[in-house]
């Protein structure tokens, strides 16, 4: 975290100035300014979290209000961690996470590298490439379902055009083998621009003189790429991976619209499974425990990752 301007600002207002200020005291203003935000954060972020933790130890069902709520201790947690179906959902999520990040990093970095060649009109084309990530994932996911239709869909038609297969011979959303890839394709289409933008910021942060020095030392272009470009972009790239990782771990809207978790449960990511437990089967207590497990998992993985990231940055 960059502390210099912040700490300078926090220790602001020399006493000589402070004495001359009219109106409310700084302390009063500070609380008036921060108060409503803190209240809202407590109400919408912190209080629900605590409530979820509480619920996770009970057998509460939100659709049966009158029923007696029993404290079941850690039973919800035990049941979730020993449930083999949930491990299948975790596997589906891991598959989705790994491949989306793989393709987005690969394509995103390549694009950023090419855009950084500063050809004419590169900012306009960058904006066009960025468009998909600005759109509503649910609406886009719904429409991709149309593109993926086996007989009439554009996607199948294009694939058929290039491979010579019958366009009705494969179902992207209906087949157990292809469905996990169909969600990877749409997510990659949508979020590659994000990785690209972060990489671009990284590439633009490399000062020219480093390359000039390398040129003087007669380092080949290839060598410059591996000893200057890659190491200097790496912290940015890792940051992009962190953000995409967290976002895709939570993935819900796009995939629920595309496949609804099917066929069977091949694309049932943890969030979709959680929604089923909480809002279809109404096992509120059980789902709360599930939610806490997911939160702790992301939080733990992200913390470890940030540690690694800081090590890379320090180098």
């Amino acid at each position: 975290m960059s502390e210099t301007p912040a700490t300078r600002a926090a220790s602001a207002t020399p006493p000589s100035v402070a004495r001359k200020i009219k109106g409310l005291s700084d302390r009063a203003i500070a609380w008036i300014f921060v108060g409503p935000t803190i209240f809202l954060l407590l109400a919408i972020n912190i209080f629900p979290l605590i409530w979820t933790i509480n619920l996770s130890f009970t057998n509460f069902k939100a659709n049966r209000i009158g029923r007696e709520v029993k404290n079941v201790g850690l039973r919800n947690y035990e049941r979730i961690l020993s449930d083999s179906d949930i491990w299948l959902n975790m596997q589906a999520t891991a598959h989705f996470l790994f491949w989306t990040i793989f393709f987005q990093v690969l394509i995103g970095f390549t694009l950023a590298y090419l855009i950084n060649k500063k050809f004419k009109g590169n900012d306009l084309w960058t904006t066009i490439i960025v468009l998909p990530m600005m759109l509503s994932p649910a609406v886009v996911g719904n429409f991709w379902k149309f593109l993926y239709q086996p007989q009439i869909g554009l996607f199948n038609y294009i694939v058929a055009f290039f491979t010579g297969k019958e366009p009705s011979s494969f179902e992207m959303l209906g087949s157990v083998q292809l469905a996990p890839w169909s969600i990877v394709i749409v997510d990659t289409w949508m979020w590659t621009p994000f990785v690209m933008l972060i990489c671009l910021a990284g590439l633009r942060s490399i000062p020219d003189y480093i390359y000039e020095a390398a040129e003087v030392d007669r380092a080949s272009k290839l060598r410059q790429f591996f000893t200057i470009t890659i190491p200097m972009v790496l912290p940015f790239l890792m940051l992009a991976v962190l953000f995409r990782g967290i976002e895709n771990f939570k993935m819900f809207d796009l995939v629920v619209q595309l496949t609804g978790g099917g066929p069977g449960s091949t694309t049932e990511l943890t969030s979709i499974n959680l929604k089923r437990e909480a809002f279809e089967k109404w096992r509120t207590g059980y789902a709360s425990a599930y939610a806490i497990i997911l939160f702790v998992t992301v939080f733990g993985l992200a913390s470890i990752y940030v540690k690694a990231l800081n090590k890379v940055k320090e180098r």
């Binding site: 109106g23 954060l41 629900p48 979820t52 066009i128 759109l135 009439i152 969030s271 909480a278």
Partner: protein
């Protein structure tokens, strides 16, 4: 290019890079172009094989999106000749327009909730960011970071207690409830971004104003606010886009009066299966403002994305 520089790419590599990027951009636009095209197709053109690129455009999809229709007997149709161009379109299917559909309302809900929550996030967020930037607030950094980390929770997990809480408070399916919820989700990021912008404004300006007899509050809105305007604008765009696109909370917590467009658009049903031109028309109307917005405000937006990410 007159001056020679070792870091300036050669003309040939620029050409290559430009061509590759443009090809990618064109390919990536195909699905979006297809949405817009499909909106102007007739239902039979929309599902024809092979997919039609050239077709006779019609506004049927848009008419179907905004209206509900009923089938009528030939006698009735003959007795009541069509009054308007949209009447005529539905007459081809022996139908008459029964009334407006819910799409207009849902779209309006998206506008109200989107702008309402953006306004609230920015209003509260700027005040808080100023205080976090200029005053000593105990545990400020830890607090901000912890609150930011609650965004790692899947939205469904947050929705469970919010659902119960809103049911108790009577806030389910209300505009106010959704505005408060989106503000609560957005505000941590808004404060974080805005604090960054305000930190960069030199203290000297305010101090000069304070010495000149301004109150702290006057100094805030006459000196600091104008200077933070760009930062506030780009933060506002992020809040608006989040609220506009949000689906998970909307689908779980709203069903009628306060339902926004994203959960509604996939439910547009035609006669015999999904009416794809109407769905495409709805998607176009909903997505187009964001696309135009992105292109017009590209400088602020693109810088904002990287700034927001890299600052952490």
């Amino acid at each position: 290019m007159s001056s020679f520089s070792v870091t300036e790419p050669s003309t040939r590599s620029k050409w290559f890079a430009g061509t590759m990027v443009i090809i990618y951009a064109l390919v990536t636009m195909v699905p979006l172009a297809w949405i817009m095209l499909t909106g102007f197709k007739s239902p039979s053109d929309a599902i024809s094989y092979p997919p039609k690129v050239v077709f006779e455009p019609t506004l049927e999809g848009y008419v179907n999106l905004f209206t509900t229709r009923t089938r009528q007997t030939p006698e009735y149709l003959e007795a009541n000749p069509p009054q308007t161009w949209y009447d005529e379109i539905v007459r081809e299917y022996d139908m008459v327009i029964a009334g407006p559909s819910k799409f207009g309302e849902r779209f309006l809900n998206s506008v109200i909730i989107g702008f309402g929550s953006t306004f609230l996030s920015i209003f509260l967020g700027t005040l808080a960011a100023y205080a976090f930037s200029r005053f000593k607030i105990p545990f400020a950094d830890d607090l901000l970071f912890f609150i930011l980390s609650t965004r790692m929770m899947p939205p469904i997990a947050v929705a469970i207690p919010i659902f119960l809480m809103y049911r108790q408070l009577g806030l389910s399916d209300t505009h106010l409830g959704m505005i408060l919820l989106y503000t609560g989700v957005n505000i941590s990021l808004a404060v974080w971004l805005l604090k960054g912008f305000i930190d960069e404004i030199p203290l000297e300006y305010e101090e000069a104003a304070l010495i000149d007899g301004y109150t702290r509050f006057q100094a805030f809105y006459k000196v600091v606010l104008p200077q933070a305007a760009t930062g506030i604008a780009s933060t506002a765009i992020f809040c608006l886009i989040f609220a506009w696109n949000e689906y998970a909370f909307a689908v779980l917590l709203t069903s009628g009066t306060a339902q926004t467009a994203p959960p509604f658009i996939p439910t547009i049903i035609g006669v015999g299966g999904l009416d794809w031109p109407a769905v495409a028309a709805g998607a176009t109307i909903f997505l187009l403002p964001v696309m135009i917005f992105t292109i017009l405000l590209r400088k602020h937006l693109l810088r904002g994305i990287t700034f927001g990410a890299v600052r952490k």
